[in-house]
Every structure is written in C-alpha cells, then in structure tokens.
C-alpha cells in the first residue's frame, strides 16, 4: 500500500515560499509515496481528500462565529477529521511525514488562520529535530477527537465528540495535548467537564494541571476509572483553589 508523505525540508521550503509570496496560493508542495504492507485497495490520498471535502475548511474559517472562537471551530472540525482518517492503518497514522502531508498540502491556509501567519513550523509538523509532534494541527485535531471518544466510551456517552467540542486553546494545547495527561481520557474528561461548567478559570486550571502532573509521578492516570478520575480532579481543584495566589498573580 502506498501513501503520501512530505519530508521536513520540503515542508519548510513550502511554508517559507508561501509566506514570502514566492509561491502562489495555488501551488502545492511535492509529496512522495511511501510503501507499507497493507490493504492495496485503500487509496490514502483519496481518503484525505475526502476528509478535506467534509471539513470544508475555507467556509468554516470564514464563518461569522469563527473569528471569535477559533478553538471552537478546531474542536468541531476535529470530530469530522477523526471520523474520516481513522480508517487509515496505524503504519500511516504514526508516520510524521504523513501528518506533514495533511498539514502542508491540504491545510496550509487553515493553519495560518488558526495558529497565526507567523506560527512556528511545529503547527505544520515541520522541524524534524523535535521529538514532539503533538502541535501539528491535523494531528492534534485527530488526537483531540480520539481522546474525546475514548472518554465517552468509558462513560457510555452517545456523543463521542462532546469532549472535543469543549473549547479552550490553552486548555487543549497546554494542559492536555502537550502533557501526558492527554493519555488518560477519563482524567481529561473530568477536566473538560469542569472547564465546561466554568469551574476552572485559567489561573486555577494552570495550578490544577501542575499539581496533577506532580501526582502523576506516583499515580498511573491511565488506569483510573471515571469515578476515580472524578475524585482525583475534584481533590486537585479543591487543593489548588485553597492555595494562596503566587507572587505577581492576579486574584
């Protein structure tokens, strides 16, 4: 089975070319086809193209509500993207070259809109030297919906995309996807529930996650059931709320 990938150098050259105007918006980067053992009938390019049609990125980014809440748009689209791309085998979905292809070939303008016109190459999955891929926009959208689905399954919820739609750029990027708490969907679900009820304003959220990270040294969050995850987050929220504000911190 063949699937498209883009290497780091090509991705960065394309990003630079588009940004400095040397490449027109109609230009597409070159991609290469990698080969892995798998379903020969599966056309990965078509699957991605179909996903992009379903997302209709241009229309969503230009909608009236989008300007005020880009993360809500990202969360909503994450569910659609995940539903489309999850049919691909893990050999494709764990290849960073594939995610660069999705980001640079298909989502350049959306990513520029979402993360800013001068956003770091990480948003496109570029910068090969970095081990972390979590901030590549299509991958982080995929993971956001994946975490949401796993959390919903744990609770028997019918709307598997609920969690992904809880908006908050810092919430998702800084406190879930960037750190390993993201590997524990039951804990994430409880944090999202509290965020959705406005129980976790930014300063408190920061403290809660910091304390959770400390606790994680001794506790395997991945094995906690939804009830234990609820207790864990409640305790940490109460503990963080009772702490005195740090120097220089408002409130």
């Amino acid at each position: 089975m063949k699937y498209p990938t883009i290497d780091d150098r090509t991705a960065r050259a394309y990003i630079d070319g588009r940004r400095d105007g040397q490449l027109p918006s109609s230009a597409r980067p070159e991609f290469t086809l990698n080969e892995v053992t798998g379903d020969e009938e599966l056309d990965v390019f078509d699957v991605v193209e179909g996903a992009m049609e379903a997302l209709d990125l241009g229309a969503r980014a230009n909608s009236k509500t989008a300007k005020n809440d880009k993360d809500a748009v990202e969360g909503d689209l994450a569910v659609t993207l995940f539903a489309s791309l999850r049919v691909l085998p893990s050999s494709v979905l764990t290849d960073r070259g594939f995610w660069r292809f999705v980001a640079v070939y298909w989502m350049f303008d959306f990513i520029q809109w979402r993360d800013g016109e001068n956003c770091r190459p990480h948003s496109f999955g570029a910068q090969e030297g970095l081990g972390a891929l979590w901030d590549c926009v299509p991958l982080r959208m995929f993971d956001r919906a994946l975490i949401s689905e796993r959390a919903a399954e744990g609770l028997g919820l019918s709307d598997v995309g609920w969690g992904a739609r809880v908006a908050g750029t810092d919430l998702w990027r800084s406190h879930i996807l960037r750190v390993l708490i993201g590997n524990a969907p039951n804990v994430v679900q409880r944090v999202l529930e509290d965020a959705d009820k406005s129980l976790l304003p930014t300063s408190l959220l920061r403290k809660v996650v910091k304390d959770l990270q400390r606790t994680r040294s001794n506790v395997m969050f991945e094995v906690l059931d939804p009830d234990d995850a609820r207790v864990l987050v409640d305790e940490h929220r109460a503990g963080a709320a009772s702490k005195k504000p740090e120097v220089g911190e408002g409130g």
Partner: protein, 334 residues
C-alpha cells in the same frame, strides 16, 4: 553530539513517599520484553525502523503466585492491588491497557504473551516508538496511613520499556538558525547559536530532547556539516554540546524546583523517566553517581569545566589552535 542523550538501558525507580514496597519492586525484576528472539530488561531499547515495524513483541510477566507472595511482604495486599500492562504511543496521545488483572490474588494472566500489533492499534507498532509499562497498582482507595499508598492508581512497582527507533538518537541534531528564527525569539542578528527550551516538555515528555531545539547559524551549520573532521569544527561541536547540556540541565533543575519548591534530590529526578535517563547518562559520562551529578549540576561553572573535560575540549582546543597557527603558513602565498 547526537548521542549524548542516548538512554541508559536499565533503570529502577524508588517510590518516594512510601515504605515497605521493596518486595513488590523485586518481583518485577523478572519482567522481560522479547523483540524477536532478543531478550530485553526494562529501560530504553533502540531498534532499527524495520524491526519496529515488523518484529514480534512478547512480554514475560511474573506469575500470580509470585506476585501474591511478594505483596504479602508489603503493606498492600494482593486483594487491593492489580497487575497492569499499559502501552503508550509516542506519536499520538493514546494509551492502551493490555492487561488489568484485579485483584492480583485471583489473577489469571498468562506469564508470557504476544503483544498484538494491528492496523487499528496506535500504540504497539507506533513508528515513532512506544512505551510499555508493567506495574503493580493500588486498585482502590485505602485508609490514609503514613508511608502507605492510599490513592487509587498509585503504582507500587513498575517497569518501563521504551522502544525507540534508531533515528531518534539523532533527534538532538541542530536546526538552522535563520533570520526568521532570530526574529521569532528576538535574538541579535549575529547570534551564532540558540538553545530553545520548552520547559514543560522537559519533564513531561518521554525524552528530554522533546523540549530542546538547538539552533546553529545556517552558514556555520553548513560549514560544520561539510568539514566534520576539521579540528575547529570538532571543537565547535564539542563546545555546542557542552553549552546545550548546561542549558538543558539548568532548565531541568528549574522546572523540577518549580514543582517541588525545594532543592532537587535524586528521588525527584527518579520521578521523571526522561530526566532520569539524562542524568544517568551524564553520571556515566562524568564517572560519578547520580547524587554527585546533581551536586555538580547545581554549580554551572564547575559542571561546565567537567563537561569540557569529558568532551575532550582541552585536546580539541590545542588541535584547533595548532591548526590555526599552521594554516596560514601552509596555505599562504610565497
């Protein structure tokens, strides 16, 4: 400089706030991961990309009898604890619970089993690497007693196998320091290098390298890459390695202090697998133990001097200077 973060192959953990769990820890000494016919202890296991994609992975676990017997010597019984095996991918934020035997006292797990790698599994088989954690875990809340685990999910003993692709060893390789990067981080136009640290990632990622990007001026980098055996180039690379390590170590210590609020101890370091591997590697290079490494790390000037010695900067400096003094003579016009 690509290998100075290469992981140690074996490590153990100490549970800080608890006592009497040694037996539970010892029983996991027998856990092994087999990659094809090769047997591996816990720690980092570097494999080539083909092996990662195609090999069969098999795990050997202690028997129920051994686990129950070991737990009898701890303050937590086999009825309160479980045996878990969790696989976590590196590319995606996802973990799969492969084994969850509760209670250990009536566990029926096989002592040897094949890890499934299927097209819809994002953990085992992740091309970016994956981690397998085998742990004995407290399953439910216990009445709080001093030095005894009480919170559900607390691990009494654990072993981590980090399976990483070979190419990851070069993940610390420098990036081009361009004018865009200088603008982005507000650096002087003539800055030759920059070590970017993302402090959260230093502690939270599987590898400290995930939180570090080393930038080198584009022209210098190209010259370095084109003349790797040149004495000046070798000295520059060693200098850069020392500078990077110093910056990384100081930021790791600051990040841990930010969490603990106190001076960093060996037990603090053991709480972060990626950091532990960094300091173990450093300790091996310096030829001292972990505690001494931390003492040195708290004195950047002294650590710098030790690292320069380890990286052979005295010899490299002399070679470079001799080359520089001979260079014009050899190459000059009559």
């Amino acid at each position: 400089m690509g290998d100075f973060l290469m992981a140690a192959r074996k490590e153990k953990y100490v549970i800080r706030p608890f006592e009497g769990l040694d037996a539970a820890d010892s029983v996991l000494d027998s856990v092994r991961l087999f990659i094809g016919a090769d047997e591996h202890e816990a720690g980092s296991i570097v494999v080539d990309v083909e092996t990662l994609a195609e090999a069969e992975f098999r795990l050997s676990l202690p028997s129920r009898e051994d686990l129950v017997s070991a737990l009898a010597a701890t303050p937590v019984s086999g009825n309160d604890s479980s045996l878990v095996v969790v696989a976590s991918g590196r590319t995606h934020r996802v973990s799969d619970i492969l084994v969850h035997e509760y209670p250990v006292a009536s566990a029926s797990h096989p002592t040897s089993f094949q890890l499934e790698s299927a097209p819809d599994i994002l953990t085992v088989g992740d091309r970016g690497g994956w981690t397998l954690t085998v742990a004995v875990v407290l399953e439910h809340k216990l009445v709080t007693e001093p030095l005894r685990p009480s919170r559900p999910g607390t691990w009494l003993a654990r072993r981590d196998f980090r399976v990483v692709p070979e190419r990851d060893e070069t993940s610390f390789s420098p990036q081009e320091l361009t004018d865009e990067v200088r603008d982005l981080y507000k650096l002087p136009k003539s800055a030759p290098t920059y070590v970017l640290i993302e402090r959260d990632l230093l502690l939270e990622s599987e590898s400290v390298a995930d939180g570090v990007t080393v930038y080198v001026d584009r022209d210098i980098l190209r010259l370095l890459q084109g003349s790797q055996t040149d004495a000046v180039a070798q000295q520059m690379q060693a200098d850069l390695a020392v500078e990077t390590l110093l910056v990384v170590v100081q930021n790791v210590l600051l990040a841990i202090r930010d969490v603990t609020g106190t001076e960093v101890s060996t037990t603090d370091v053991e709480g972060y697998p990626g950091v532990l591997r960094l300091f173990q590697r450093l300790a091996n290079q310096l030829g001292v133990d972990l505690h001494t490494t931390l003492v040195l790390a708290s004195d950047p000037q002294k650590l710098s001097s030790h690292l320069k010695a380890v990286f052979g900067l005295q010899t490299l400096g002399i070679k470079a200077l001799r080359g520089a003094s001979m260079g014009p003579t050899e190459g000059s016009n009559p």
